[in-house]
Amino acid sequence: MEIKLENISKEYKNVKALDNINLAINSPAMIGFVGPNGAGKSTLMKIIMGIYQQDAGTIYLNGEKVNMSKPSVALAHGIYLVPQEPMLFPNMSVEENIAIGFSDKKKELHTRIVEIMDQLGWNIRLDRKANTLSIAEQQLVEIVRGLLRNANILILDEPTSSLTFNEIKSLFQLIEDLKKKGICIFYITHRLTEVFEIATHVAIMRDGMITLKGSVINFTKEDLIKGLLPPEAKMKNTEKTEDNIEYSKLKPAFETKGFSGYGFRDINIEVYPGEILGVAGVVGAGRTEFATTVFGMDEVKSGQVFLGGEDITGLSTRQVLDKGLNYVPEDRHLNGIFKIGEVGVNISSAFLRNSSKFFLNTKAEKQLADKYIKDFRIKVTGQDQIMGSLSGGNQQKAVIARVLSTSPKVVILDEPTRGIDAGARCDVYAIINQLKKQGVAVLLISSDFEEIVELSDRVVTMYQGRINYRFNKKQITLDNLTAASFGVYEEDAYEIGE
């Protein structure tokens, strides 16, 4: 089996998701795809599976051109994708989940399924309902499903992101067995160490391009990290603004002690007034869960949160807001804006509660909105423009403006510049620096490490739900953050600066 991708490109709304991808793989092989969020890994896999269609380029299987117009075409060619979140039918039994779509005799199918599972040395009751399975078991069911369909190319999209360590171990064993059977495996991961553990080949992706590919034996960890970094990265690292904060004189504005919740564990951080603490990591590292739990949107498991020395653990969102902590969510479309409301109303909506008893104080609201529209250079035709019609960058500025109207002491910004253009990005950075000058403590969550490098005074990196490293101002470099976030940082391996 040979699969060859030629000049595959894909665009979303003028943003290049995939830029001229070329790749050829002969089975048996196990190729690891590594790259930061938004590098285009999943998009590429979905194109191979026929879920998306490429704008340009060709897919060849065994030298033959194939038009992957829909998943059933890919399935017919022996390609099977195990998605990041398993997509079983929760209300069907394991057996039904595997056998659906086949019209063979039930008994025959049953025998074949049992055979496959015996070969894999895997034991599970076939009459269990899928919604009683653990994530690992669901993934195994997905894999058996692929094997029953005689898959020659098995795509695993971040299979380990929600598995425990023992589960990962047995999954790797399974992959070794599949490799021996001659199946070609595409393996997407955030964890560089896994590549060296199980892959024969590797492809590093960044900004929709494959920046590095080949046999794993030809590369070291350092090579792979270089492939993950943007080419101009080195130069930026050398410049640092020197406005040192004297930590010894300050009391932290925000502090957590042994704070644990769903998706993160034992987080100890402190943020000082007028400081920006960067929280770096890859998606799924538990950063957003940490923020939402602090903000009273999810249950605290253990530990404490202090705001200006006062214990605010487990308070409701409204109470946390009143105490002076505010959160700008990751996905503003989902949580942040009133899309069909006017810009003015959007800005002043957080101020409403302090505004008056019963009737709205429209005049005060208007003044407030005007001030922020001017200060933040939000491009609008007027206060009455509908929020949903603004560009992403201007929406984001309006959301931050709303947060500021509550005069917070601590602000948590979650991916503040995701999906907005360069100009608006600079404006947002200016606003964040302005916050800092006003003495607000800022917690900056971002997967864009250049952003973290540019803005942060100190950085913590989160990896699999825990803080794995802390960096002071001098140590904040793209290399360090990338290595730590991908779980391969070694102290002293990367010297500071050049």
Binding site: M49, P90, I100, S162, E167, Y262, G286, R466, N468
Partner: protein
């Protein structure tokens, strides 16, 4: 033993228990309700609802809804009754009714899948259009004088107990149950409602399956319309008005989840018997049958709320379990501060 276990676990069992309990309670208050003759009357009276519920079950299993079935019943009843009155053959009337059902189902299906109109809005709009066309078609008048032979059909009984209509409906329900649970394509309906993206991923034609579901729903509503003509003997422009709520409630009561993917048509049929007996039950308990719709509505809401609360609990539990699995048990790296 295994079989007993499986039967006890089935969702339909609780609705059957509900039915039996309801009958026993009413029988305790008014023993005449449990007389064999009355029981048969009750069962025979539920054919129209059973057909509607089995039809809409296709759509609900897919995770969609159809609120136009009452109007579909009305239009197919009006069209077939008119043909019969004017001397057409039974076959012509049956074909015409089914054609009405197929057409409406196809329109609903295309609107929901191709044009991506939310199903509640699409079918609500179609409901208005179809109900309106009944008025246009009949000039707002009743369709009467349906031939006696056709009306007699609904009275014919098998061994003096079950009407042939009920018998046929039961057989049809069992056949549909077999198709939905035991055949490859039949499983597609529940699969689409259970996990739509998952269905796409393994090559199930999601849109095609939904269109077929709407057409099946339309055909069953048309069959219900034919039985309505035979049983009632005349058709008013409001025929079938509000039946969609009864059919949806019957499905939900029978264990079909409005979220899609869960439930059987056997359950829907049991739910229909409960729904159609409520008005008789009220009479036997010496309440006004005016409460019928109110009680149906309350039952519908209660069951759906309870079900969604349970589902939300389960989903939240699963999310937390997933997040916890991601977290390192031990501290992975050191600190270099």
């Amino acid at each position: 033993m295994k079989l007993v276990n499986r039967i006890l676990k089935a969702r339909e069992i609780s609705s059957l228990a509900f039915l039996v309990a309801m009958f026993l309670i009413v029988g305790a208050v008014n023993p005449t309700f449990l007389q064999v003759k009355n029981l048969f009357l009750t069962f025979n009276g539920s054919v129209v609802y059973i057909l509607l519920a089995v039809g809409i079950a296709f759509v609900i299993l897919c995770g969609e809804i159809d609120v136009s079935i009452g109007a579909t019943l009305g239009l197919s009843a009006a069209v077939s009754a008119t043909l019969l009155r004017d001397g057409s053959s039974w076959l012509a009337a049956i074909i015409a009714a089914i054609a009405v059902g197929v057409t409406i189902g196809l329109i609903n299906g295309i609107g929901v899948t191709v044009f991506k109109v939310p199903s509640i809005i699409m079918t609500l709009g179609v409901n208005g259009v179809v109900r309106g066309s009944i008025y246009v078609y009949t000039n707002g008048k009743w369709v009467e004088n349906v031939p006696f032979e056709f009306k007699a059909l609904s009275q014919a009984t098998f061994m003096n107990a079950l009407t042939y209509f009920l018998l046929g409906t039961i057989i049809l329900t069992v056949v549909v149950h077999f198709i939905l649970t035991k055949t490859k394509k039949g499983r597609y309906f529940a699969a689409v409602g259970d996990n739509m993206s998952g269905a796409t991923l393994i090559g199930i034609p999601v849109e095609g399956t939904k269109i077929v579901a709407y057409i099946a729903c339309g055909i069953f509503a048309a069959l219900a319309g034919l039985m309505y003509v035979s049983r009632v003997g005349f058709v008013t422009p409001t025929a079938g008005n509000g039946y969609e709520m009864k059919a949806i409630a019957a499905c939900v009561l029978g264990g079909i989840s409005l979220a899609g993917g869960v439930g059987t048509v056997i359950g829907a049929a049991i739910g229909s018997v409960i729904m159609s007996s409520i008005s008789r039950v009220l009479v036997f308990l010496q309440f006004s049958s005016d409460y019928d719709n109110t009680i149906t509505g309350i039952l519908l809401i209660l069951i759906v709320v309870a079900d969604s609360l349970i589902q939300r609990r389960l989903a939240e539990k699963a999310r937390r379990k997933r997040l916890s699995a991601r977290t390192l048990e031990e501290v992975g790296g050191g600190s270099n501060e």
